[in-house]
């Protein structure tokens, strides 16, 4: 009818300028052997990509990344829903106070969170408490994979659970009260009410999907916290350390002088990461609409 | 001078269910046409098609013989009043009413004067500086009306404007709208599910059910000669009695009772008879039955009588010596009988 296409133009321009354009250029670049010592743009076909596919370090990083993404996002989602339930079931005054407190982590830079949750930091406290304070005689050994993977996920969840909390609160506020009243009349327990009313409403909400997708996309690029951990574990100069996500790997390759700034390869890695992220998101999207139908 | 013609108009939202189905309708210049139907009958969709807010799946809308196919709402020179008022919350009453003039950059009329004139017409001059959230339902609807009439449109469209108001307000605003209509003389299409509104305000009524327009006529015609039994029961309070009868060549049989009625029909049909056309007596009448219960309306009572297991409602004004369980006779003019076949369509 009278669709204002012209409104879209600036955004489309930007999308091409900072998105599609640079990515395409990078792609072309990744088809060469560009590096700081050898700045030639001579195309070598998919050589870099093939090399990547056979590089175990890269695959390790992909695995680690995938693992951390799934773990972190699920934890964020669960924690967010949990916080939301706490907040919505409390009185209105404390609601404001607590939700304000819960929001704070979002504003914190990931790197700062990385410091916060580092072994020396929180765990000296915790260990001290456990060991001496409560005389349990045990302590948490932060060099175990179980521990550090968990801590990384917890750190990420620390920052982003509030996001899911906010979204969930918004969704819960749209659930008609009558559903709960009917459940009360039928004598349902709190758990049943959650299982049958609250949870389905949250899970099938398109809003949660969008939030999930955004977080998954972001989580694939996880850097600061795992990187910090590679220091605590003394593996900062080891490529393909157990905590290296793809981003961390790329950074290490970039900043180490052992290799010779293989920019083309790094770019190829980044593009592969991009593709994997997009594919994952598409899968989630498709899987989701199937569940919804 | 605006007449509207709808030709084979259809609208479907998912290619399976049709909200509006092959509607043909002519609306005359300056006519106040009411589209009357139950919830979900497609009446709002029909109005929105006229407004241009929805595009037809098939069929055409003509304004004065001009096809409105490519014409967006803002160019159709129509005004619309919505059920939930749709006032702009961020603007004062003054700005709300002035909006059509300001937004379309109309330089011909002096905005200030026009707004003052219209607000005094609608008796809301004191509210000009308020915001919609500070107004009552009735006041909000008056503002919405003001906003609609200020730009002197060729066509007024109203989508159940009184449905969100309480009964007393509704009656009051009904009168207002009628006065406005007399004053402004503009072609108006008014959608409602309330038959009182339709009967009291319309020049003609178009009855819509399940997306189809099943009868168009003056209120009298619709009331007295419904083309479908459903219409008979939809209009009128209490609704028309629909009694199953067996037709014979000159008789109508209800159970074991008979009515003399010359007809050329046979088989099971439905007889329609309005409660106010029936009288009650202790002796003498065409049919007899037992009183089941009374409903008190204030100025009258409704007696429900069981005649051969058919429940018939009768409107009476005096029930002094009648009580539940009494056997009574009912009488009526044969000319008031309306006949409908098994499908509900009227017959002669």
């Amino acid at each position: 009818m009278k669709i204002p296409y012209v409104f879209l133009i600036p955004s489309l321009f930007i999308i091409f300028l900072v998105g599609i354009g640079p990515v395409l250029q990078s792609f072309l670049l990744s088809l060469s052997e560009f590096s700081l010592f050898n700045p030639s743009m001579r195309p070598v076909g998919f050589h870099n990509y093939i090399a990547l596919l056979t590089d175990s370090i890269f695959w390790r990083a992909i695995q680690v990344t995938l693992f951390l993404v799934i773990g972190s996002v699920l934890l964020e989602l669960a924690a967010g829903i949990f916080l939301a339930l706490l907040v919505t079931n409390s009185g209105s005054r404390s609601k404001r106070v607590f939700s304000s407190i819960f929001i704070i982590p979002i504003a914190i830079a990931p790197i700062v969170t990385g410091i916060l949750w580092s072994p020396n930091s929180v765990f000296d406290d915790l260990n001290t408490l456990l060991y001496y304070g409560l005389s349990l005689g045990v302590y948490v050994d932060t060099s175990l994979p179980v521990v550090y993977y968990s801590l990384i996920m917890i750190s990420d969840a620390y920052i982003w659970a509030p996001l899911f909390m906010l979204v969930t609160v918004a969704i819960i506020s749209t659930i008609p009260k009558e559903l709960y009243e009917a459940a009360d009349v039928m004598g349902s327990s709190s758990w049943t009410k959650f299982k049958k009313i609250t949870f389905p409403a949250i899970i099938t909400s398109p809003i949660i999907v969008v939030t999930l997708l955004l977080r998954i996309a972001d989580a694939f690029r996880m850097f600061e916290v795992p990187y910090a951990w590679s220091f605590w574990l003394g593996q900062d100069s080891v490529l393909g350390a157990p905590v290296d996500t793809v981003s961390v790997l790329m950074w290490k390759m970039f900043s180490s002088t052992l290799y010779d700034f293989p920019i083309a390869q790094i770019t190829a890695m980044a593009i592969v990461l991009l593709i994997i992220t997009l594919v994952t998101c598409s899968l989630v999207l498709k899987r989701y609409s199937n569940i919804l139908e | 001078m605006t007449s509207i013609r709808l030709k084979l108009l259809s609208k479907s939202f998912n290619n399976k269910i049709f909200a509006v189905s092959d509607v043909n309708l002519e609306i005359n210049d300056k006519e106040f046409l009411v589209i009357l139907g139950p919830s979900g009958s497609g009446k709002s969709s029909l109005l929105r098609l006229i407004a241009g807010l929805e595009e037809p799946t098939s069929g055409d809308v003509f304004f004065n013989s001009k096809n409105m196919k490519e014409v967006p709402p803002r160019n159709r020179d129509v005004s619309m009043v919505f059920q939930n008022f749709a006032l702009f919350p961020n603007m004062t009453v003054f700005d709300n009413i002035a909006f059509p003039l300001v937004a379309s950059e109309n330089n011909k009329l002096d905005v200030n004067n026009e707004v003052k004139r219209i607000s005094s017409l609608l008796k809301i001059e004191d509210l000009l500086e308020r915001k919609p959230s500070e107004l009552s339902g009735g006041e909000q609807q008056r503002v919405a009306l003001g906003r609609a009439i200020i730009k002197q449109p060729k066509v007024f469209l109203m989508d159940e404007p009184l449905s969100n108001l309480d009964a007393a307000l509704r009656a009051e605003l009904r009168t207002e709208i009628k006065k406005l209509r007399d004053k402004l003389q503009v072609t108006t299409v008014y959608v409602t599910h309330d038959q009182t509104e339709a009967m009291t305000m319309a020049d003609r009524i178009a009855i819509i059910k399940d997306g189809k327009v099943i009868q168009v006529g003056t209120p009298e015609e619709i009331y007295n000669n419904p083309t479908h039994s459903w219409i008979g029961s939809f209009i009128g309070s209490p609704p028309m009695n629909l009694i199953k009868v067996q037709a014979d060549s000159n008789l109508l049989n209800i159970g074991s009772q008979k009515i003399d009625f010359n007809n050329s029909l046979s088989g099971s049909i439905v007889m329609g008879l309005r409660p106010e056309n029936i009288t009650v007596a202790k002796q003498g009448g065409k049919l007899h039955g037992t009183i089941l219960f009374f409903e008190y309306l204030g100025d009258s009572k409704i007696i429900t009588v069981n005649i051969e297991d058919e429940l018939i409602k009768i409107k009476v004004f005096d029930t002094a010596d009648l009580s539940i369980g009494d056997k009574i006779f009912i009488d009526f003019n044969v000319g008031d009988i309306r006949l409908f076949n098994a499908n509900g369509n009227s017959m002669k």
């Binding site: 982590p105 830079a109 | 909006f99």
Partner: protein, 277 residues
Amino acid sequence: MLLVAAALWVLWPLSIMVEEGFRVDIGPLFSGRGASFIGEFFQGQGGIRFSTIEYVKALRVEAYPRLLVNSVIIAGSSVLVAALAGVPAAFTLALYNFRGKAWITYSLLALRTISPFAVLLPFFIIYGRLGLFDTYRGMAIVYLIINLPVLTLMMRGFFKDIPKEIYEAAFISGASNSYVLRKIALPLALPGLAAAAVFAFVGTWNEFFYALFLTGTVTKTVSRGVWSGFSESIESFKILEFDELNAGGTLAIIPAIILALAVQKYLARGLTLGAAK
């Protein structure tokens, strides 16, 4: 009860950081930080000496005020441009259907999946040629990658939140798209715009990678400041000087937290990203 526990959970690490910035005295038995609180409780010894030295050091060494100004300018201008481009686009996406609409929405989402490394070199090269390296303009442009999607998708949600009839009444009254956007949609969605802007602002403020690669001494941002404090400690001592870091960390996050708290009510509505309608 659980609420309180959860709140503590959130605040505990933070309080350690703040407190460490003040260089709380450490009890002799415990090498851990913050343990003195607990240690004190159980051992009845250890004292608390407050000293603001770390905060002052952070301010001076990292030239914090300069970093602050830089971050504000960069984040502010990037969000502004994102809003100017994103709001009209969001309006169109919210109200109309057209071919390619799904592509645009998907592209916006995809924009957020771009990792800095994926576009680093092109930016490096182009910025080198155009002299946009280490400039406010350059940084603002790069951050559009993360800001445009946020602003556009969130505002689309807010515009969709406004009841359809209000738009219809406006259009029928003869208003143009531009008029409706300016006079009706934006005023009504203003809280949402605030929320989206803060969200984008905070995201840009905290962002590290692009800042690291594309800023120099002129436009160095706060996040770099925190990071370089971090890496300096690592390189020089191979252990982390927590006191400094914590002070710096605290200073780094204060502005962001203040903003987040201010709009937390609006953040909830906006974060639904309009997908529900």
